[in-house]
């Protein structure tokens, strides 16, 4: 069964039809690219899938479970991890603690343990730190664990967001323009990272990206959005030669 199944979702903001009939089926190990010009509704798709807004119509199934009307934090716990286009890290917390926040909902101690030095608390904190350090290592930030995210470069903050999303132990990972603001070297490293995560962790990845070469290189399936509608979807080769796509998106890119 598909890990993520989105069936005919719609979402409008007043008169703006941000999503009109979007569907997707993503399986374990797949990377799906979502491309389209500014305002095409790409981020809104992620926001609906991850429960920030409810869909006006349609259904979202995560590993067979209907999450369309679930609360956002419960959707996350069902196995949805995401990053944000405009980086949203927690200020006032170290790099490690930013990732710990994504572990804490699963941490097995309660309010008494939070106020008192109970053994259970220290055991769970240790377990969490080990898990988080593992993910920080995976994105190459293990030596920055005690740093403040505000003091790090843009590229490192993007990686920290990915590590934090990984700590949610997602079945589906949503990456919203992870390469935005990165230099070519960093884009190369990011591409490597995404491919490695997809291979090693075996989840489904949805990737919104403006840089065509990045998406085309690593996605198995590409969905092209324009004014809220899907104007094409298929393999990179199919999409590249689609006349509608060339006109709406690629054509503009070339001139």
């Amino acid at each position: 069964m598909a890990l993520l199944k989105v069936e005919h979702i719609y979402k409008s903001f007043g008169g703006v039809k941000a999503i009109q009939d979007f569907s997707i089926e993503a399986n374990r190990g797949e990377i799906h690219g979502i491309i389209g010009p500014n305002g095409a509704g790409k981020t809104t798709i992620f926001n609906v899938i991850s429960g920030i807004y409810p869909a006006d119509e349609g259904k979202v199934l995560l590993d067979g479970k209907d999450i369309t009307r679930m609360e956002q934090h419960l959707i996350s716990r069902e196995g949805m991890g995401r990053t944000f286009q405009n980086i949203r890290l927690f200020k006032g917390l170290s790099v490690l603690d930013n990732t710990m926040c994504a572990f804490d909902p699963r941490s097995r101690y309660g309010v008494p343990g939070s106020l008192l030095p109970l053994p259970k608390r220290y055991a769970e904190e240790k377990r969490g730190r080990e898990i988080c350090m593992g993910y920080l290592k995976m994105v190459g930030l293990e030596s920055y664990a005690q740093e403040k995210p505000e003091n790090m470069s843009y590229g490192y903050r993007r990686r920290l967001e990915i590590a934090r999303a990984l700590t949610c132990e997602p079945k589906v990972l949503l990456l919203d323009e992870p390469a935005a603001g990165l230099n070519p070297v960093e884009v190369g490293e990011l591409t490597e990272l995404i491919l490695r995560l997809s291979r090693e962790l075996g989840f489904a990845i949805l990737l919104i990206e403006h840089r065509l070469e990045l998406v085309m290189n690593i996605s198995q399936i590409i969905h092209v959005q324009n004014f809220g509608k899907t104007i094409a979807s298929g393999t990179p080769g199919q999409v590249r030669s689609d006349p509608g796509v060339i006109e709406a998106y690629l054509g503009k890119e070339e001139c």
């Binding site: 995401r82 949203r88 890290l89 927690f90 200020k91 926040c101 909902p105 343990g113 934090r164 949610c168």
Partner: protein
């Protein structure tokens, strides 16, 4: 008892309440303008139980705290799901309602003329032990899973939810811890001054605590404690300035906002590690010059 013992005891009692406000305002970013009303609930409940029903103190104080927490739960329930600014409105209304209630129920509370005859139990030492205990509990909380989640919620609620954090629950926990601590401060206070009246617990008191937390640094418990000493100590020590308390606060707050927007200490905490760092730096400075 000397004047300084008296001032110090009062400051330590304030430290307890401000530490409670720190959890709510400093860590979680929620502004309560009715926090003093929970201090009133603690103070009056324990005071009435002891004076009118001759209940033992070891039952009366916990009863005051438990009642405050129960009331806090009811007040918090509708607010934790709303946008963060609503809590200021709800708690403001609630706080003023409590003051009005205390003024009206004369038979039980003594009304505007206050509740008298409370035994004087709190000493400098019990206030000190209480303050140290509360500070310890709250610094443990700050470094716990819920403490981190409070800071995450303050920083970005939407991102917090996306990471699986149950935002209303975290806000409720912060609110109730803050209420419990403030109510305990109320017990300490009532059994120190031996007298309480409703005018002590208005919104101005709550606002003063919020200012103290901000002055010290929103993410620094050390800062909150320090600023309680400075802000409530200064006007006491400089008696002739008593009438200008509000003005002094305003000036200090303006200075802080202009020159140190993150508060006196910002995010800095007095931890063993940071302390060692300071000492190391001090040694380096003390080294005689010209030896190299």
């Amino acid at each position: 008892m000397t004047l300084y013992t008296h001032i110090l005891t009062q400051i330590l009692i304030s430290v307890v309440s401000v530490a409670g406000v720190f959890v709510l305002t400093g860590m979680t970013g929620m502004f309560s303008l009715g926090q003093a009303a929970f201090m009133a609930i603690g103070a009056y409940t324990s005071g009435i139980l002891v004076t009118k029903l001759s209940a033992p103190i070891y039952l009366a104080w916990p009863a005051g705290v438990v009642l405050a927490v129960a009331v806090g739960f009811i007040v918090g329930l509708p607010t934790v799901r709303l946008r963060r600014d609503y809590i200021s409105l709800v708690t403001l209304g609630f706080g003023e309602a409590i003051t009005a209630l205390l003024n009206r129920t004369t038979a039980l509370t003594g009304g505007a003329s206050g509740l008298t005859g409370i035994p004087k139990v709190t000493t400098l030492w019990s206030a000190l032990v209480s303050a140290v205990l509360v500070i310890t509990l709250i610094s443990l909380f700050k470094n716990s899973k819920y403490g981190r989640q409070c800071i995450a919620v303050r920083s970005d609620e939407l991102a917090a939810k996306s990471m699986g954090i149950n935002v209303p629950k975290v806000k409720m926990i912060a609110f109730l811890i803050s209420v419990a601590v403030t109510a305990y401060g109320g017990c300490l206070y009532a059994f120190y001054t031996a007298y309480v009246d409703p005018s002590l617990f208005g919104w101005k008191k709550s606002a003063e605590w919020v200012i103290m937390v901000f002055f010290g640094g929103v993410n620094s418990l050390t800062g909150s404690v320090l600023s309680t000493f400075v802000l409530s100590g200064l006007p006491e020590v400089l008696r002739f300035l008593q009438n200008y308390r509000a003005i002094i606060y305003a000036v200090l707050v303006l200075l802080i906002i202009n020159f140190k927007p993150a508060g006196l200490l910002g995010e800095w905490e007095l931890t063993p590690r940071n302390l060692r760092r300071i000492i190391a730096r001090g040694r380096r400075v003390q080294q005689p010059k010209g030896v190299n």
